[in-house]
Subunit: 245 residues, 2 copies
């Protein structure tokens, strides 16, 4: 097995390693109750440091995929059967999600504006009534197809530049990162709904069909709400996996 | 604060306690980095044993809601802001989900039959081509309203009684429990879709609107797949919450 190439940071490495060990359990046909290879074997196999390995194993233990018998080693739990690819519970941007679904996302900015925060947006972003927000309206396309219609609200103070000096067609998360505000977690609510009629009409999307709507508040690592987003995913093109236990 | 009444078992008690401590964090306005009350204070407040308390605190730590500084105590983490009620990641039956959404669910059995497992059902339930399954087709109603259309597939061998000797209008999970096969976890995929046309026509459901479809394989505690279910939830009546991190 080839060594793991660290992507961006130590955290990413540990997450990759967790997934690789999860895949190893599947590839070797390990069943609930079977013992995992030893730490020495796993560090050799993945050419990885012992501390990184232990962190990855701790994540698998927290996910309930493995359990520890003290003095005996690590074992595959029944919940290991519950691995799903790309779970909806992993925080990622719409662009990342689209890429992992096999699309090459292009953003088309429909509108960018500054406005007073509505009560809904105030509540989500913990703003007061006098607060201003940036409202970003985008289509996420794959070639000519519109796959997602999305609305984002960001506190005006988080991105203090002039609106028209910013290229809004790029990644919103990367933009927020440049301002030291990259979100890394969220709370979300999903439902099924048709696109709002004015949105379908204005954008020639009468064939969009049932949308998988995710309404999401994204937080920075310090727990500050930084983006309130409503993303309407074309139901015929996306599905979302998760584990329930 | 009143003591917690144990519901069904020790596990339930610990889960209740976890939720109660989570609510306490919210009620006291504790912020990321704030210290939790001491173990002594929490056991007194909830009139609960120290071991149960420690288990509940361990769950909160695993959820990332609190973190431990050794020798200093437990602290609220930034992810504590991410508590959602009734997350989609908690395994529950459609009836339980409906009750928690404020409905009084009634089941209407549309059909019950035995058939050869299709390739799709074989794959989900890990059955071979010669396997037979029970197919249960139900409407989940609140008063006169159809809120969910559901299809369930169960290995024939799991419920060996004669089909017509069983009351299929009750809880499927309770029925499986009587056969020592109660599921307690699942993998699921959700999307947005319209009801299949033949289903809407046969059941006068042309006004059902966009459905939130959950396709789910439920497992027993030993990791045995026992139910393959497709539940179409009326999108205008349900939403599903989750945390992403």
């Amino acid at each position: 097995m080839s060594p793991i190439t660290p992507l961006r940071d130590e955290r990413t490495l540990v997450l990759q390693l967790r997934d690789a060990i999860g895949a190893l359990i599947g590839a070797h046909g390990l069943k609930p109750g079977d013992q995992l290879p030893t730490e020495a074997e796993l560090t050799r196999r993945f050419q990885i440091s012992r501390p990184a390995l232990r962190e990855a194993l701790k994540l698998l233990e927290q996910d309930g995929a493995i359990y520890v018998k003290h003095g005996k080693g690590r074992f595959v739990s029944a919940a290991a059967a519950l691995q799903v690819e790309r779970p909806i519970t992993c925080f990622e941007s719409v662009s990342e999600m689209m890429q992992k679904s096999g699309y090459r996302p292009i953003n088309k900015v429909l509108s960018i504006s500054e406005e007073a925060a509505s009560e809904e947006v105030q509540a989500a972003l913990r703003l007061d009534a006098s607060s201003r927000v940036i409202r970003l309206e985008r289509l996420r396309m794959h070639e000519e197809d519109v796959l997602v219609y999305g609305l984002d609200y960001i506190p005006r103070t988080a991105v203090p530049d002039r609106l028209y000096d910013i290229d809004w067609s790029g990644s919103l998360l990367d933009l927020l990162e440049r301002h030291g505000m990259r979100p890394c977690m969220s709370t979300a609510v999903a439902t099924s709904i048709m696109l709002p009629p004015d949105v379908s009409e204005r954008n020639d999307l009468n064939d969009f069909g049932p949308a998988f709507l995710i309404v999401e508040t994204a937080f920075t690592s310090t727990g500050l709400p930084i983006v309130y987003a409503k993303d309407y995913h074309r139901g015929s093109r996306f599905s979302f996996s998760f584990v329930r236990k």
